[in-house]
Structures are given as C-alpha cells and as structure tokens.
C-alpha cells in the first residue's frame, strides 16, 4: 500500500527556461531602439495647424543644412498654467509664447543673432546678383503652434530675410485619414 504512493525515482526538472523570454526581450529591445528617432531632439511639442495640401516631408532630419525654429506655448509646469490655452482657445498673452532652436530658447531679439549665425554657417559660393550679397544655402523650417500669434512667425521670416536665408518652409500637419 505504501509503495503505491512512493514518489518516482526520476527527479522532475521544474526549472524555468529563460531562453525564449530572453529572445523576445531582445526583439523588443531591437524594435524600441530602432523606432527611437533621436534626430527629433530639435522638435518641441507643437500642435501644428492642419492642411490637406501639405507636402509630405520625406527627408531624414539632419541630412541637409536646415535650421528648425519652434514657436510654442509655455508648458503647464512648475506652477505655471494658462487656462485659455488649456481650454483650446487662442492665448494672446505674448509672454506665454516661446521660440526655441534645438531646445534653446530665444527672444524675438536674440533669435535674429542666432539666425544670422546659422546663415553664415552655409553661405553660397557666389554673390547673388539680385540680392547683391552672398545668400545662405540653409533652409529655415518654422514649426509654429496652430494658435501662435502670426506676429512671431512674421518676425522670424523678416529676421531670416535680413540674415540672407531665403528658403523658408512652414510646418503643417496632414489631417488624419478617414
């Protein structure tokens, strides 16, 4: 009778096989690493205006001489909040709007100096006969929030023109497909 309930002699291996889990984690890691686009560091959180005629930006950022200027609303952090912007209305308080290039913030005055510096980094080889000076080969991409006051963008275009940057691109988002 006692022999009937005797455990088997062979020791059963109940260890957890980690190899499939490691394989899957490696695949996950690879996926997240490849999808992490580190080149987007110069892009701020901007709610772009929507336009159906917008030209898709197919280039990989950083492959050509381009400066991206972001015009965006101050984030609601550190005790700051803007109820107007939070309620998706147009905030007209100019002190709430910021200009940033590669994560560094500028005022409407200091951004002129920065744009001049950026323009001088890539001047054309020859003097442009129409402009009477060497223009810049650099493109300026303006990514402005959809509620940003136009005066900011206008000031940036004006500063770019004075600096010799004539290739201006304005960012917009394609509307979601139905």
């Amino acid at each position: 009778m006692a022999d009937k309930f005797k455990p088997p002699d062979v020791e059963e291996n109940v260890g957890c096989n980690l190899i499939p889990m490691i394989d899957i984690m490696f695949l996950l890691l690879l996926f997240f690493m490849l999808s992490a686009d580190m080149s987007q560091r110069d892009l701020e959180e901007v709610v772009l205006p929507q336009a159906d005629q917008v030209k898709e930006d197919t280039k990989v950022r950083g492959t050509e001489e381009q400066t991206t200027v972001n015009v965006f609303h101050r984030l609601a952090t550190g005790g700051f909040s803007c109820p107007v912007y939070s309620n998706a209305q147009d905030c007209r308080d100019l002190s709430h709007w910021l200009i940033a290039i590669r994560g560094k913030q500028f005022t409407t005055d200091t951004v002129k100096t920065q744009l001049q510096f950026e323009a001088n980094l890539s001047l054309e080889d020859t003097v442009d006969p129409a402009a009477g000076k060497k223009l810049s080969k650099r493109k300026l991409m303006i990514r402005a929030d959809q509620a940003a006051p136009y005066g900011y963008v206008q000031g940036l275009i004006q500063a770019a023109g004075e600096a010799g940057i004539y290739m201006i691109e304005v960012g917009a988002a394609a509307p979601p497909k139905p």
């Binding site: 996950l28 992490a36 917008v54 030209k55 930006d57 147009d90 402009a131 206008q154 023109g161 917009a172």
Partner: protein, 159 residues
C-alpha cells in the same frame, strides 16, 4: 540540447539573470522614450531674393497682387478675412474668390501674380495656414507675406 537546464549536460552554466535585468531596464527606457511620429508636412515659401524686406509693402501704380487681409477681432475672438473690400466668412467662398482673381490675372497673361497674405500680428497662425492651403488647392504656389506691420512690441525682450 540548447536551453537545457541540466547542469550535467552544460557544466559551464552562465547566470543569465543579470542580463535579463539589464535588457528589461533597456526595454523600459526605450518604451518610455518612444514617441509615435506625427505625420508632418511643409509648405515651401521661398523669399524673393532681389526684392528685399519691405518691398511687398511698396506702392506701385498698378496693383498686381491678390491681397488677403486678416484682422483679429478681440470681441469675438475670431479672425476677419477680407479680399479686396469684401469680407469673407467661409473657406469655400474665399477659395472661389481667390480662384476668380487668379483666373483674371491668367487671362491678362500674368499667371505669376502672387497671393499676398497681409495678416495682423495677433491672428492665429492656423488662419494663415488655412489661406495658404486654399491657395494651394487652387494651384497657386506663389504666396507672399506682407511685412508692413511690425511684430508685437510686447514680445521684444519680454519672453
């Protein structure tokens, strides 16, 4: 057999637990930093090389432009759009009016006549983009920005 846990079969056992920990941490890091890219596009707007700043506001004998004026109404919080002397409410009407004006210039053999957006500094940027979008729908690529009005004075050094 690969992956066997039997120590007799594989005497040099490697402790994989620290490796799993590290990979797990890396996975969490990349998961947290993952941001799905918004489908972004752009409008090209090359500045005229020879005209210089402020030339758009210069007065010429013949008005050879399609000027869309935009004002911000503080009371209603809305943008008022005006083509010539006519105030336009909806996008479809404005698109048609721009098209008609452009067709008139095409008939006069001046297809390169630009659409000039003359917006007040407080106008929201999306309203300007909307007008640019309407121009693109009409096949008009030459869009200019009027630089007549100065940027908001309070913005200077106030940020």
């Amino acid at each position: 057999m690969a992956g066997s846990q039997d120590p007799n079969e594989n005497p040099v056992a490697i402790n994989v637990v620290p490796m799993v920990d590290v990979i797990f941490c890396l996975c969490v890091f990349f998961m947290c930093s993952l941001k799905f890219k918004q489908l972004e596009g752009k409008f090209d707007s090359w500045l005229p090389k020879g005209k210089g700043i402020g030339a758009a506001g210069s007065v010429s004998a013949l008005i050879e432009e399609i000027r869309v004026a935009m004002f911000y109404d503080d009371k209603t919080g809305k943008t008022v759009r005006q083509l010539g002397t006519r105030r336009v409410e909806d996008d479809a009407t404005l698109q048609q009016l721009i098209k008609d004006a452009h067709d008139d210039f095409v008939r006069l053999n001046k297809p390169d006549t630009p659409v000039t957006i003359d917006a007040e500094s407080r106008v929201p940027w999306r309203e300007v983009i909307t007008v640019m979008n309407l121009c693109k729908r009409n096949g008009i690529d030459k869009i200019e920005f009027a630089m007549g009005t100065a940027p908001p004075a309070a913005a200077k050094g106030g940020l």
